[in-house]
Amino acid sequence: MTIDREWIADHTGELTELSVSHLQAALTAVLLGLLISLPLAVLAHRVRALRGLLLGIANILFTIPSIAIFVLLLPVSGLTRTTTVTGLTVYTLVVLLRNTVEGLDAVPAKAREAAKAMGTRPLRILLTVELPLALPVVMAGVRIATVMSISLVSVATYIGDGGLGQLFTDGFQRNFPTPVFAGVALTLLLALIADTFLVVVEYVLTPWNRKGQRA
C-alpha cells in the first residue's frame, strides 16, 4: 500500500476544511453534553433514587451502535449537522455523567460541611466548593469524551456528514488508500491537540493542585 504524497499536497485546502468541520462537530457535542450532563449529575448526586436510573439509561444508550443512532435521527433532523451533533452528544453523556457524579461523590464531606457551617447557600456551595473540587475527575471525563467524539465523528459519513470520515468513504469507493490514511492521521492529530489543550485548561483551572510542583 503506497501513500500518494502528491494527492495530499493537492488537497491541503480540502483536508483543512474537513478538519475544521470535524473538530466543530466534536466540540459542539462535548459542549452540549456538558450542559446536559451537569444538572443531571447534580441530580444523580443529590437524589440517590435517580442515580441508578440515570446512569442505567446512559449505559444502555452507549451500547447502541453509533451508526444506528445517526440513522434513527434521520426522520427527525434529516441529513444535517444537527443529526451528527445530536448523535455524538448522546455518546458524550455516558462518560460526562458518570465522571461528574463520581467527581461530586469524591468531594470531602468536611469541605461541604465547613461551607455549610459558614452559612453558604446550597447553590453557592455547589458552584464554589463542590464543582471546583470535583474538577479533576470531571476534566478526566471531558478529555475522554472529547477524544471519543473526535474519533466518532467519522461514523456520520454514512449519513453524508462526518468531517474527515468522508475521506474514508471516498477512499473505500475508489479503492484508493491515501485519503483514508490522511483521514486517520488527521483524526489522531486533532485528538492529540484537543487532549493537550484540555490538560493545559485543567492546569490553569486548578491552581491549588500545583502546590509544591514549582519548588
Binding site: 451500547t63 451502535p65 477524544v147 488508500p177 486517520v184 489522531l188
Partner: protein
C-alpha cells in the same frame, strides 16, 4: 412513533425474519462470533501487557497513552485502510475490533494492579513468596474486579462496533443497519440497533454474573 414500534414488533417476532441465512438467528450467531473472537484475541494480547506494566511499574506512560490513542483511532478509517491493504477477508474486521478492545483491557488491568496496596505486596514478599507467586496469588486476585471491568467495557464496545463488519460486506447484525440504510427501511435499521444493544447488555450482565459467582467474597464494582 407508535406505528414504528408496532412494525418493529412485527419485524422482531415474525417467524420468517428469524430463519434462513439472512435471518436474525444466523446474523446473531455471526455477530457473536466476531465479537467474542475479537475480545478473546484482545484479552490474550492485552492482559499480559497490563499485568507486566502493573507488576513492574515500568511503562506506565505507555499504558496511559495507549488508552487515549486507542480512543482516538477512528474504527471506520482503520477497517477501510486494512481492507484496502489486505483485500476481502475477515482480517480488517478483526484488526479493527481488536485494536478497539486492547486499550480498555490494558489500562484497566494496569489500574487494577496499581491499586493493590503496596503493604500487601510487601507482606507477601516478606513471607517469602517469589515474584510469580506474588503476582498469581496476591496481585491478580486483588486486581481482578478492575480487570473484569476492563473486559466488560471492551466487550460492550466490540459488540456495538462489530456492526461495521457489514460495511466491508460481512455479516452480523450490522447487515440490518446497513441494508436498512440503503433501502431507506427504518424498521430494519431500528431492529438491527435494538438487537445489537440487547446483545451487548445481555453479555455484560452475563459477565457480571460470572464475576459474582467466581469471586463471591468481593463485591463487583459497578461498570
Amino acid at each position: 412513533m407508535g406505528e414504528l414500534l408496532k412494525d418493529l414488533g412485527t419485524w422482531l417476532t415474525s417467524q420468517e425474519q428469524w430463519s434462513g441465512s439472512d435471518g436474525i438467528a444466523n446474523r446473531l450467531g455471526e455477530h457473536l462470533e466476531y465479537s467474542l473472537i475479537a475480545t478473546a484475541v484482545a484479552a490474550v494480547i492485552a492482559l499480559p501487557i497490563g499485568l507486566l506494566i502493573g507488576h513492574t511499574g515500568r511503562g506506565a506512560f505507555l499504558a496511559i497513552n495507549l488508552a487515549s490513542f486507542g480512543r482516538a483511532l477512528p474504527t471506520v478509517g482503520l477497517i477501510v485502510l486494512v481492507f484496502l491493504a489486505s483485500g476481502l477477508s475477515m482480517t480488517p474486521v478483526y484488526v479493527s475490533l481488536v485494536a478497539l478492545a486492547v486499550p480498555s483491557v490494558v489500562t484497566n488491568t494496569y489500574a487494577g494492579m496499581r491499586a493493590v496496596d503496596p503493604d500487601t505486596r510487601d507482606a507477601a514478599r516478606g513471607q517469602g513468596m517469589r515474584a510469580h507467586q506474588v503476582l498469581l496469588r496476591v496481585e491478580i486476585p486483588l486486581a481482578l474486579p478492575l480487570i473484569m471491568t476492563g473486559l466488560r467495557l471492551a466487550l460492550i464496545q466490540v459488540v456495538a462496533t462489530a456492526t461495521i463488519a457489514a460495511y466491508v460486506s460481512f455479516g452480523g447484525l450490522g447487515r440490518y443497519v446497513f441494508d436498512g440504510l440503503a433501502q431507506r427501511d427504518l424498521v430494519q435499521v431500528l431492529g438491527g440497533a435494538v438487537l445489537v444493544a440487547a446483545v451487548a447488555l445481555v453479555l455484560d450482565l452475563l459477565l457480571a454474573a460470572l464475576q459474582r459467582a467466581l469471586f463471591r467474597n468481593r463485591p463487583a464494582p459497578i461498570a
